[in-house]
């Protein structure tokens, strides 16, 4: 990181070789001081502090974290009147295409996240946390497990933490690599060993979560921000952000930029500035489209990227802030092909519970493939909108909406590219066949 646009909350030491070790964290980054402070506070005070910091969930939906914690029932009991345990769950199933910020935290500053999670456990009066790590993250899992072992050995985790009498245990659970398990209720099902399919809500996880107990699910980046809030105070954290969203955000910029990577930036920056920070679009090329927050966000055209990167401005621009994965596509990209890659991913990852999502994601992927192969018609383009309107907002989870994001926005904003493909007989037309094939359309 050459430029600092804001005081880094999470990434100050990520370039140091030993930043993942407990020694380094304790020596240089006020390691586990926040926890020491938090354990002297009452749980409700911590929740209030986090509420004051305006920390919003970093997983994609942007739900205020303090509010989420305050939804946890105070003294849950089962049908027989016996007290029920509460669980804190960390969503480390970073599966959104184009997003790689949690991986940075887990590999470079795992203790920050672990400390934040222990504080969060204390805040909701829970003694057990589960860290659900994506199946593909072998290295990350290893580093996290090592960090947990270190913390346990140093007495920051386990029984009687720092002599305060508070017990907390964190357990790592490795997923099997399903995108849908990033959805909190699917994650809980997967954690329990069931099929990773989102649950019907209500009941929400705060009532019936992991193993039927009240649970709270937060993202890695959310937890990692908590020690800073405890150390420096909620006001300071809130001042780093904007009115309704405190703190900084991690943006994973990828695609056709000169310096792809994770950047910690304030939310006051525009999308264009974020791309500039990442070295700008690769030299000699121009931006064609940008996906501002991970694959499921509707894409923006090059003339639309002067939009602020906070939750509400992006929503106003018809897209989402999502998980902060900025994907930049330059003019060499064929949009239809790029979106087909995403749709193929969604077709493969739909859990298959709800009719619309199961069949619709399949249909869209096949339709885009047909257009790429030269079998498309102009009717197909109108039909994309119809399929998407039948999918969005109709299913248990937001997966169907995620599918329609790239599909619908690409047809709306880059219709001429689709029409070119249809007219020319696909991406790689055979000579002499282009016109007749396009007219004829595909065969059923």
């Amino acid at each position: 990181m050459t430029h600092q646009y804001v005081e880094p909350v999470l990434t100050k030491f990520v370039n140091e070789p030993n930043s993942h070790t407990l020694d380094f964290y304790v020596k240089n980054d006020k390691g586990y001081e926040a926890l020491r402070k938090a354990l002297t506070m009452k749980p409700a005070e911590i929740v209030d502090e986090v509420k004051k910091s305006n920390l919003r969930g970093r997983g994609g939906a942007g739900f205020p974290t303090g509010m989420k914690w305050s939804f946890m029932p105070a003294k849950p009991v089962d049908v027989n009147g016996n007290p029920k345990p509460k669980y804190m769950v960390c969503n480390a199933d970073e599966g959104e295409p184009g997003t790689f910020k949690d991986r940075l935290i887990m590999t470079k500053v795992p203790h920050k996240m672990i400390e934040g999670m222990i504080i969060a456990c204390h805040a909701i009066e829970s003694n057990k946390g589960f860290i659900y790590i994506r199946g593909e993250f072998y290295k990350e899992t290893r580093i996290m497990q090592k960090a947990i072992d270190e913390a346990k050995a140093a007495g920051f985790l386990g029984k009687n933490i720092m002599g305060t009498g508070y017990d907390c245990d964190l357990i790592i659970y490795k997923g099997a690599g399903a995108y849908i398990c990033g959805e909190e209720t699917a994650l809980l099902n997967s954690l329990e060993g069931k099929r990773g399919e989102p649950r019907l809500k209500p009941p929400f996880p705060a009532q019936v979560g992991a193993y039927g107990m009240p649970s709270c699910v937060n993202n890695v980046e959310t937890f990692a921000a908590v020690p800073y809030i405890m150390n420096e105070g909620a006001e300071k954290y809130a001042s780093l952000g904007i009115e309704k969203a405190g703190g900084t955000r991690l943006y994973g910029v990828s695609g056709h930029v000169n310096k792809p990577g994770v950047y910690e930036l304030p939310m006051t920056m525009t999308l264009r500035e974020v791309i500039e920070v990442a070295g700008g679009v690769r030299t000699g090329h121009t931006i064609k489209a940008v996906i501002p927050g991970g694959a499921s966000c509707p894409m923006l055209r090059a003339d639309e990227i002067d939009v602020k990167m906070d939750y509400d401005s992006l929503a106003k621009a018809g897209t989402m802030s999502g998980s902060g994965g900025v994907i930049v596509l330059d003019e060499t990209v064929n949009i239809v092909e790029a979106v087909y890659v995403l749709l193929k991913f969604y077709e493969h990852e739909s859990c298959g519970q709800c009719s619309q999502c199961r069949e619709g994601s399949h249909w869209l992927a096949r339709m885009f493939k047909r257009i790429l192969d030269g079998g498309g018609t102009n009717d197909d383009l109108d039909y994309v909108a119809k399929i998407c309107s039948n999918m969005a907002g109709q299913t248990i989870c937001a997966f169907a909406d995620a599918v329609t994001g790239p599909a619908l926005s690409s047809v709306k904003k880059f219709r001429s590219e689709f029409e070119d493909l249809i007219r020319n007989g696909g991406l790689h037309p055979k000579k002499g066949e282009a016109h007749s094939h396009a007219k004829e359309g595909a065969h059923v």
């Binding site: 849908i180 298959g352 519970q353 009719s355 199961r358 069949e359 249909w363």
Partner: protein
């Protein structure tokens, strides 16, 4: 018979065999009492029990046909995945699934608004994209929910130009000797998975893979092992799971559907007899909350074979010159009557598969016709059961140890169990409808057989000294009542007309009387 536990089996008004029987609820008329909450559905206010879902309110007031459904089944946990039952709730931003959304006081629900109808059309279009359009060769046609709902809500045409999904070996997959799976037709409602998980608790079925190539498979190589597999084929909304015994035997629209009772055990499951030209093709369960819920077991389902089999004796038979001959009922009764009168002692053994009315007749009327003291007792003889006290549940659902339908009813008529389970009179009248066992007897015991007997039963009797066989009617052919294991008296009416020469017990007694 004014028994509060008496129940007359009737065909439900709604054709779907899994319709619930929730009743309307009314507020306490007492002005002090708190009135029940009300929900407005399609402009009409309905009172409901707190905790009801919108679907359950609709079921209470018999307006649930306004709400189509695939994954919802009143007997199973809610999944909420097919998204077919969505309704518009005022002030809710999205459409809500009526199966899972609890009704609220003052809620205003529209089941047929433009938005709802568009959503249903959308779901239908999605489901049909990968469903084969080969209804003419599908065995479910005519009773298929995909067909019905598509007729009502589906799009007139679809723009789906892609290749349809085809599973490997989809059309020939046998889940068990009883059930065939055609995965290509599946709409992934997962009723079957939830049934084996939550109702039979055998966890036989599971969905493997994900998304559009999600596939139903048996959990183990043994396939389906539960004893309620037939239900899977009843509630499967499409032709994915079919009952091998019925598969390709008859088009469903040719079937006459009449209510009756299963006499396979002491549970007395309510059934619908599906027949054409008085030939039975299958039994399916009718919902009865007090008795069988929505289900029935496989052995009960297949038990129609016993009445439809070619070995059943359906004409009066008389022993003449050491062999059995088909004769008129008058000739048979005259001969039997004479032999009974001249016998030194006569006993009547009523099988516990006799109806309560038949048992009363045999106890009161028949001894008078014979004109001497006749010992009347009952005999069960299945699974070692001798009296109602021996009966017990075999699993958590329906199956009972006693394999006859009316042990309690027959015992209620004042009959005693047959002593030692052994015949002792010179001539014994064995009344049995194909379910009860046969008592022990001497090798030269003189017998008069009455009721439903098959030639195989007769051949396996220890005694060959049979005076005659009075062919009787089977449960589905007659009317009467059974008292089941829980003491519920269930009345039933003929579901089919017997086309052979068998007569009801009442007719036989009437003719016998006219002889004397």
């Amino acid at each position: 018979m004014s028994n509060i536990n008496e129940y007359e089996i009737k065909k439900p008004k709604v054709d779907l065999n899994y319709s619930s029987q929730l009743k309307p609820v009314h507020s306490d008329p007492n002005p002090e009492a708190k009135p029940l909450p009300k929900v407005t559905i399609d402009g009409k206010a309905y009172e409901f029990k707190p905790g009801d879902t919108i679907m359950q309110v609709a079921e209470r007031y018999k307006i649930h046909e306004e709400i189509p459904r695939y994954c919802y089944h009143p007997g199973m946990p809610i999944a909420g995945t097919c998204r077919m039952c969505t309704v518009e709730v005022e002030k809710a931003p999205k459409l809500m699934t009526s199966c899972s959304t609890p009704a609220g006081d003052g809620m205003v629900v529209h089941t047929r608004s433009e938005k709802v109808m568009k959503s249903r059309t959308g779901v239908m279009e999605f489901l049909l994209t990968n469903h084969p359009l080969d209804c003419p060769v599908c065995d479910k046609a005519g009773e298929c929910e995909l067909q019905d709902y598509n007729f009502e809500y589906g799009p007139a045409k679809s723009n789906f130009k892609e290749e349809k999904r085809v599973y490997d070996n989809a059309t020939t997959k046998k889940l068990s000797p009883l059930v065939t799976l055609n995965m290509n037709r599946c709409v992934h409602c997962e009723r079957c998975v939830r049934f084996t998980d939550d109702i039979t608790k055998t966890n036989d079925l599971v969905m493997v893979n994900r998304g559009w190539h999600k596939e139903l498979e048996a959990t183990t190589e043994a396939g389906l092992t539960n004893e309620y597999q037939g239900n899977l084929t009843d509630f499967c909304p499409v032709g994915a799971l079919t009952w091998n015994d019925f598969r390709f035997q008859k088009r469903s629209w040719f079937l006459t559907r009449k209510a009756s009772i299963c006499d396979g055990c002491s549970k007395g499951c309510n059934i619908e007899v599906h027949s054409d030209a008085d030939v039975v093709y299958r039994y399916v369960p009718i919902f009865n909350e007090m008795v069988n819920g929505h289900w029935m077991c496989d052995s009960g389902r297949n038990s129609y074979v016993d009445f439809m089999n070619p070995y059943r004796v359906t004409t009066p038979m008389l022993k003449q010159n050491d062999s059995m001959h088909s004769v008129s009922i008058d000739a048979l009764l005259a001969s039997v009557n004479a032999q009974l009168k001249s016998a030194s002692s006569v006993q009547i053994v009523v099988g516990t598969d006799a109806t309560r009315e038949e048992a009363a007749l045999l106890k009161e009327k028949v001894p008078a016709l014979i004109g001497k003291t006749v010992a009347v007792s009952y005999f069960n003889g299945t699974n070692g059961v001798t009296s109602p006290a021996d009966d017990k549940k075999l699993d958590q659902l329906l199956k009972m140890k006693d394999l006859t339908p009316n042990t309690r009813g027959v015992a209620d008529e004042g009959l005693a169990p047959l002593a030692n389970g052994e015949l002792n009179a010179e001539v014994a009248i064995l009344f049995r409808n194909g379910r009860a066992g046969v008592p022990k007897m001497k090798a030269d015991q003189k017998l008069v057989l009455w009721g439903v007997w098959s030639q195989k039963d007769i051949q396996s009797l220890p005694s060959k000294n049979i005076l005659g066989v009075i062919a009787g009617l089977a449960t589905i052919e007659k009317e009467g009542s059974y008292k089941n294991v829980d003491g519920i008296v269930q009345k039933f009416h003929p579901a089919i007309i017997h086309r052979g020469g068998a007569l009801s017990a009442h007719q036989v007694v009437g003719l016998w009387k006219s002889l004397t």
